[in-house]
Each structure stands twice: as structure tokens, then as C-alpha cells.
């Protein structure tokens, strides 16, 4: 039998006692628990937290890349083609895809973020908002109106790193 490590044992007791003292010390003195009493006080999630996915409908071309890349098949898009006025005067009218339905089923979504990464038109964004639980599971299917509302909570994109070249617009 190995020698009992008495100093280590006592040190262990000291660690738990230290944590206890730290937790019951008043907040003003730098104490308090590591946890947050959720419904009463809320943690601000980090700016890039994966809370909910927001949709900017105008940018969506219903290219279906997000739908196809979703591992859970939780995005549903239906669209029809429409004629839009030509970009330059005298040109032919353009054909554009108009989104009829853009649903994300958050009961299925596993927050992998592949759809956000894959979108080539800057139409879907992460928002750190997280309070959208529902008593009925069917209500977790967010339609395009609701997804559009989440856009308000999307934080500004962080500034580019110094020296990073900005993508040139057309």
C-alpha cells in the first residue's frame, strides 16, 4: 500500500474551504459564486455566441446552398422567379428569385453554423440572442418574418484586423 499523502489530503480540504469562503463572501468584496441566477440576472453572451440565426431576406437568392449543407435538414426554402427592372436603362428585365418560405426548425438545428458560413450572399447571420424557448415544440419553427426580426439583434461585424485588405466592391 502506498504511503498515505496526508499533506495533500489536508491541502484538498483547504481548497474546498477556500472556495466556500470565496463563494459566501459578499459580491462587493470580490466574492460570490461563479454562476449566475439566470431568470433574475442575465449573462451577456459573447458577441459571436451562436444564439439564433437571423435572415436578411433581401439578400437571399434562394440558391439552396444552406439547405443542402445543413446536416440536420432543418432549413426549408421555397421560391419563385420574378421579373425585376433592369439594372441599366434600356436593358432587359432581370429574373430574380423571390423567397416565399424560409423556415428554420430550431427543434432540429444543432447550431453548427455551416449555413451561415456557406451563404455567399450575406443573407444569414448569427445573433447572440438565446431566449426563444417555446412550450410547444412546433413553435420552434421560425418563419422568414421571425427570422427577419432577429436581424435587429445581430451585432455589428467586428472591425477588420489592421492590415487586412478590405474586399473591393464592384
Amino acid at each position: 500500500m502506498p504511503k498515505p499523502q496526508v499533506p495533500g489530503l489536508i491541502k484538498g480540504l483547504g481548497v474546498t474551504l477556500g472556495t466556500l469562503m470565496q463563494t459566501i463572501k459578499p459580491k462587493k468584496l470580490g466574492g460570490g459564486a461563479a454562476t449566475v441566477q439566470y431568470p433574475h440576472e442575465k449573462e451577456t453572451p459573447p458577441i459571436r455566441a451562436r444564439g439564433v440565426i437571423a435572415l436578411r431576406e433581401d439578400n437571399c437568392t434562394s440558391c439552396m446552398l444552406c439547405v443542402r449543407s445543413c446536416p440536420d435538414w432543418c432549413i426549408y426554402i421555397e421560391a419563385h422567379k420574378e421579373l425585376a427592372p433592369p439594372r441599366r436603362a434600356g436593358g432587359a428585365p432581370r429574373k430574380v428569385n423571390k423567397v416565399d418560405r424560409f423556415d428554420i426548425d430550431y427543434a432540429l438545428c444543432m447550431y453548427c453554423g455551416i449555413c451561415v458560413e456557406v451563404c455567399p450572399f450575406d443573407a444569414i447571420f448569427w445573433s447572440p440572442e438565446y431566449e426563444y424557448s417555446e412550450p410547444r415544440i412546433a413553435d420552434l419553427l421560425h418563419d422568414k418574418t421571425k427570422l427577419g426580426e432577429w436581424m435587429e439583434t445581430v451585432p455589428e461585424a467586428p472591425a477588420l484586423e489592421a492590415g487586412a485588405e478590405k474586399k473591393k466592391g464592384k
Binding site: 500500500m1 489530503l9 484538498g12 474546498t16 472556495t19 466556500l20 463563494t23 459564486a33 454562476t35 441566477q37
Partner: protein, 349 residues
């Protein structure tokens, strides 16, 4: 010293039943709330229950209410009668234990001379209940847990008995009340300001006793029988609702009762040093000690269970062979040596 009022037999019995229930349930509830809910949370840098009542103080009632609502399920192939009786056997051993603990000069349930012998015998009834639970559940995990529990409880019963023997030799009595009186009326080399709590001379026995109690209660680091990561919950796996609640109460009530017993054996029990108030022996002790005594006992119990729980929350679990080796190769020899030395001193002085 006798109570001023002379109660009829039925009233005495009623008082005893009430007192016993309070002496078992009150410590259990306090331990669970103060230590299991709060102290453990603080030690893990969280606050624990905060919603039910101020600082979550009503959480216990919420938990009990939840358990009482749950269905009483027994496995199909379980030995139903034994399965149902097992938690009650465990709880019964707790109630039987508290029967010999003195709480004051007259505040005791029974006062008989083989008290220490009785409590050591009765405390092993819970082993029986645990083995019954493990065997009758018709579940491999339960059976393994029950067997481990039986092996552990029997192994640690021995050092406990041997540790207590040191106190018995020194006090020259097996009567718990006499042991308390002795500790409070004796003096240390003629100085009687502290009485003579046996923790001073029997410190080794006290350590061995507390370690054995930790193991008897199957609290970590001796929680191999419950070992939730490998045996689900050991012998408690198949229990739900009311019967699980009884196991739960029994676990913490037994912790309280063992702490009572430890404070009686080593810390002077309900008494204050008699010299403080100029009492010479038990007959001169004032009547108010019958009310102060339980409070003193309760305080000592809280300190001791606090230590038990502190150790529980700090240490990881022993492996089964380490656990057995520790009992047989360390604790038992140590307590045997302690008995020998105590006996030599007893005879020499």
C-alpha cells in the same frame, strides 16, 4: 433529578415517540439543507437552491413533495416483500440507534447499562437492510452495490467497535449516560475547567471512529457501494418515490445519529463541565440542562456532520481493494494498539 411534572405512561410514551421522530428527522433535514444543498454548492462555487423560500430554505419540502407524488415502482422480477421492507429496515436501525443516546440528565429515551454494546449491534441492522435491497431488486447493479455495501460495512464495523472500546475501557462503563457524566465531572490533573472529554486521550480512537463512521454512512470517499458512475446507484438503483425518500432520510439521519454518538463518546455529550456551576455529580445537575443539553448535543452534532460532509465533498472515491485494505491493514491494527495502550494506562494508573 426528576422532571417536576409526573406524566402518565401514555403521555411519556407519546413524548418519547415525538422526541425520537424529532431527534431523527430534524438533524436529517438540517444536514441535507445546510450541508448537502448549501455547503456543497458553495464549495463548488455555486449558490445551490435559491428559489423555494428565502435562500431556498423550503427546497426540502419541495423535494419531499416531489418524491411523495412519484409512482411506487418495483421491478417485475423483484422479491416484492423484501424489496418493500428493505428501506424500512434501514430507517428502523436509525430509530433504534437514537434510543440510547442521552440528550440531558433526564432527557433520554432509555438508560441501560449495555448502551454501547446495543448501539454497535443495532447499527449493523442497516447492513441487513442494504443487503436485502440489493438482493431483492433483481438487478445486477443493485446486487453488486449491495454486496459491496455489505463487505464495506462489515469491514468498517470492526474498527468502529475497537475504537469505541478505548472509550469504554477509560470510562469503565458501557452506559452512555455514565460516559457523559464521567467526561464532565472528571478533571485533568486536578484542573476541572474543561471536564475531561475523551477526545484528549482517545484522539486516535476518535479519528478511527470518524473514518469508520464515514464508511458506515457510505459517504465519499467510501461511497463504493453507491458509485453512481459504475453501479448507477448501487442498491438504490431500482427504488423510486417514497421508498427512495426513506433511504435518503435514513442516510442523513444516520449521519446525525452517529455524530450524536461520537459527541457522547468523545466530546462530552450533552453536558457542560460540572465544575462551571459547582455541581459535583449527576444528582445536583439543574433541571434546565434538560433543555440546554439537546441544544449542546445539536451543536456538536452539526460540527461533526459538517466535518463528515466537508470530507465527503473534497475527496474522490476509494477503489474497492484500497478501501478494504485501509480497514483491515490500517484502521484495525491502529485501534488494537490504541486499546492496548489505553488498557496499560488504565491498569497502571
Amino acid at each position: 433529578m426528576i422532571f417536576a411534572v409526573d406524566l402518565p405512561y401514555w403521555a411519556q410514551s407519546l413524548l418519547r415517540v415525538l422526541g425520537g421522530t424529532v431527534a431523527v428527522l430534524l438533524p436529517a433535514g438540517t444536514i441535507v439543507y445546510l450541508f448537502l444543498f448549501k455547503m456543497m454548492s458553495f464549495m463548488q462555487s455555486r449558490l445551490g437552491p435559491m428559489e423555494a423560500g428565502p435562500y431556498g430554505s423550503m427546497q426540502l419540502f419541495a423535494e419531499v413533495g416531489k418524491w411523495l407524488q412519484k409512482e411506487d415502482i418495483a421491478p417485475e422480477r423483484a422479491d416484492i416483500k423484501v424489496f418493500r421492507a428493505a428501506p424500512l429496515v434501514v430507517l428502523m436501525s436509525t430509530f433504534l440507534l437514537v434510543a440510547v443516546v442521552p440528550f440531558g440528565p433526564d432527557a433520554y429515551f432509555t438508560d441501560f447499562d449495555a448502551g454501547v454494546f446495543y448501539l454497535l449491534a443495532v447499527s449493523s441492522i442497516s447492513t441487513l437492510g442494504i443487503l436485502m435491497a440489493g438482493w431483492s431488486s433483481a438487478n445486477k447493479y443493485s446486487l453488486l452495490g449491495g454486496l459491496r455495501a455489505a463487505g464495506q460495512l462489515i469491514a468498517y464495523e470492526l474498527p468502529m467497535v475497537l475504537a469505541v472500546l478505548g472509550v469504554v475501557i477509560q470510562a469503565g462503563s458501557m452506559n452512555l449516560q455514565t460516559i457523559v457524566i464521567k467526561q464532565n465531572s472528571d478533571s485533568i490533573f486536578g484542573w476541572n475547567g474543561l471536564g475531561y472529554p475523551y477526545i484528549l486521550t482517545q484522539f486516535v480512537a476518535f479519528l478511527v471512529f470518524m473514518i469508520a463512521v464515514q464508511a458506515e454512512l457510505t459517504q465519499a470517499p467510501f461511497d463504493m457501494p453507491i458509485a453512481e458512475s459504475e453501479l448507477v446507484s448501487g442498491y438504490m438503483t431500482e427504488y423510486s418515490g417514497f421508498r427512495f425518500l426513506i433511504f435518503f432520510i435514513a442516510e442523513f439521519a444516520t449521519a446525525g445519529v452517529f455524530a450524536f454518538i461520537a459527541s457522547v463518546l468523545f466530546l462530552g455529550g450533552w453536558g457542560v463541565p460540572f465544575a462551571w456551576f459547582g455541581w459535583d455529580d449527576i444528582t445536583q445537575v439543574d433541571n434546565w440542562m434538560n433543555f440546554a443539553g439537546p441544544l449542546i448535543m445539536f451543536t456538536k452534532m452539526m460540527v461533526l456532520t459538517g466535518i463528515i460532509m466537508w470530507v465527503r465533498f473534497s475527496y474522490p472515491r476509494f477503489r474497492e481493494d484500497q478501501l478494504q485494505r485501509f480497514a483491515w491493514k490500517v484502521l484495525i491494527p491502529v485501534s488494537l494498539v490504541n486499546i492496548m495502550i489505553t488498557a496499560i494506562f488504565k491498569v497502571a494508573f
